[in-house]
């Protein structure tokens, strides 16, 4: 892990919270404990990386309510539920809304650790994806408006001649723009440029 991934542990049962934290720390994870869902949400100001392990049945805000609250606040940390006695409707609801796993509190250590690892992996992937997108976006932002326009046409597969006539400029100017683009972005093939465009813009440029 290149960055500090934290396992956020939420449980109203003091003893279980302590014991689980011990186990996870002993397994090499960085753990933060919260006695209630609200405490965790209040603390979620900065960019968190990691995952959330939460009890289901808690006074105040329940585990499922926490899940909804996280969606509402845009906290995308993967969620693993632990429960003293799970009932099927809760399980289905939790999984539907995107929990990574649903475990009994007395589940064997390995199951718990596997779930945590999976959750952290998911978080890592998501994080990398975000970073990649961010990079792409910033790269595109170094292009001028005109250059972006030209790029749009290039990505659509138009020939320089056509681009020139569309934009009302010289073909020679188009070639100059293209050179600038490839230099700034460090990409040469149209395929790469297209991929970049799609990743950042999410859709092909509007046609004629």
């Amino acid at each position: 892990m290149t960055h500090a991934a934290t396992v956020h542990l939420i449980d109203d049962d003091d003893s279980f919270l302590r014991a689980a934290a011990r186990l996870l720390r002993a397994s090499g994870f960085r753990v933060k404990v919260y006695a209630s869902a609200r405490d965790f949400l209040d603390d979620a100001g900065q960019e968190h990386q990691g995952c959330v392990i939460s009890d289901l049945q808690m006074p105040g805000m329940s585990g499922l309510e926490l899940q909804d609250a996280m969606h509402g606040k845009g906290i995308t940390l993967p969620l693993v539920f632990l429960t003293g006695n799970g009932d099927i409707p809760s399980t289905v609801s939790a999984m539907r809304k995107g929990a990574v796993d649903f475990l009994e509190k007395r589940a064997p250590k390995q199951q718990l650790l596997d779930a945590v690892n999976r959750a952290l992996e998911l978080d890592e992937k998501a994080h990398q994806q975000r970073q990649h997108e961010q990079a792409m976006r910033s790269r595109l932002s170094c292009l001028s408006d005109r250059e972006i326009e030209v790029l749009g046409h290039v990505v659509r597969g138009s020939m320089n001649k056509v681009i020139a006539s569309d934009l009302g400029i010289h073909e020679r100017t188009v070639k100059l723009h293209r050179t600038a683009i490839t230099t700034k972005l460090g990409m040469h093939s149209v395929a790469e440029l297209t991929r970049l465009w799609m990743e950042v813009r999410g859709e092909m440029p509007a046609g004629r």
Binding site: S15, F16, A20, R22, L23, G84
Partner: protein, 609 residues
Amino acid sequence: MNWITFVWPMVTATCLTLALINLRIAMGDGRRAPHLMFSLAACAVAAVSVFELLLLRTKDLETYNVILRWAVVPIWVMVTAATGFIWSFFRTGRLSLACSAVGLNLLANVANIVSEVPVVRHAVALHQATTFGGVEFTVATIENGPWDMVEILSVVMAIAFMFDASLQMWRSGGRRRALVVGGSVIFFLLLSRGHAMLVENGMLEAPYFVSFCFIAVIIAMGMELGNDVLRATSLARELQSSQRRVDLAGQAVSLGFWEWNIVTGDIWANEAARKLFGVGKWETVNLDRFLSLVHEDDRSSVAQAIEESLQRGADYEMEYRVQSEDGCLRWISARGRLEMEQGRRPLAMRGVLLDVTENRSSESELHQLRGQLAHAGRVSTMGQLAAALAHELNQPLGAILRNAEAAEMFLSSPSPDMEEMKAIIRDIIRDNQRAGGVIDRLKSLLKRKEIEPRVIHVRELLEEVMALIRADAAARSVVLDWSCADDVPDVLGDRVHLQQVLLNLLINAMDATTGATRGERRVTVGCQRSADGPSVTISVCDSGPGIPAPVLAKIFDPFFTTKSEGMGMGLCISKAIVEAHRGKLEVSTGPDGTCFAFSLPVAQSVADS
């Protein structure tokens, strides 16, 4: 042809017509005496009219006297019929007076007929006179005989009777009737008599118009009768429409109407009722037939209910089963009202009956659902308990596991943190205690709190429980037999808890018979004095396959069950309750079935009996 020859026959004809009409009515059923009297009176007036015409036309004295002599006959009939009419129409007045008047009149007139010289009146001379339109008629000089006063007296008595009767009628509210009928009869009688006397005494030269007076009376009487007929017709119409309404209502709900004539024994029943009982449309039904149609289980109760109603004079109300014509059992709800004679002898019972099978089946369904709900409730409370339990236990157990795993991992490192280890061990111990506490709480929950012993009538207790379980048993086609020995004394115990025990044993017993074929599902409940000691033994036996030995050993253990649902607490709790009652819950089993029996202490005050 002159008006005399025209008018008198018209009077005759009118009277005869009215007489015939009313004779026809009089021959119909019901109270028709007034119509008969009226008819007679009308006939008499018709005859009088004929006689009068003859008198007016006779020029011969001999003939005149013959006619005059016999004229008293229709007159007497007229007076008698008028008196009779007042008597039967008004139903008031002194009968003795009426009879004397009529009798006296009869006497005088008979005397007049049979005597050589008419004793009341006879003509001595005739002469012709003229009246309107120049018409000639005969006038006679009348000489009254010694019995004339008798005749007059009888008429006066008749008038007195009518007056008295009319007065009574007036007083009792029938004013119009009194005035119209009574008044007109009296008035016209007086008028005709007065006129006749005037003519006879030569003071007036006019034809007799007795018939005219009388027809006026007839018309008055006729009007009154006519009103009655009209009223009867409109009542009949109302009755018809009311009958139609009742029929419609009856049809809509298939209401059966019945009427039991207690005196003759016959029972009338309408079509709906007959259909319900599967009795033919024209078949005669009496009480025995009816009882034979009632389901044998309910027969004695129905007979008893009828008997009670007859004795107490109270309304009859009963529900019973009947095998209907399509072979299925139907529940009937019946109500009846007694008609008594002067409050003593029952004359008839009239009532309705209704097919309430649907109600019943939904009632029994409801009952069954309630039972199931209660049952489920009991199980779900246990279920809820189990869920809460699981949660309560999983917390500390989960924590212990995690701690132990953590400890294991620490220990595998070269230098484990001893402080941390100590903390882990401490936590494990604490969690273990926590879990133990949860178990303890459960145990205390299962232990019955103080039993409130009251005196309980065992038969009543069993009846209540049977009532609760009956629908369930019926639904499962389990035959439920129960009996209680006569000498079973009252016991000391907690009613609610004992009911629980019985319900538990009964439900288990019914479950045990589930595998058996329909006819062999039997649960028997018995209660009797115990052989040993002052106690009562209640047993619940089933016809199931028996309990195998390994299961038998654990049957009373908590959380032990062979069923897919249920917590396995029933027998454990039942045992605890019985033991709290200082009794014992025992089981004996074999391939033919299982019996659970428990004893309860006899209530102290009867322990010595």
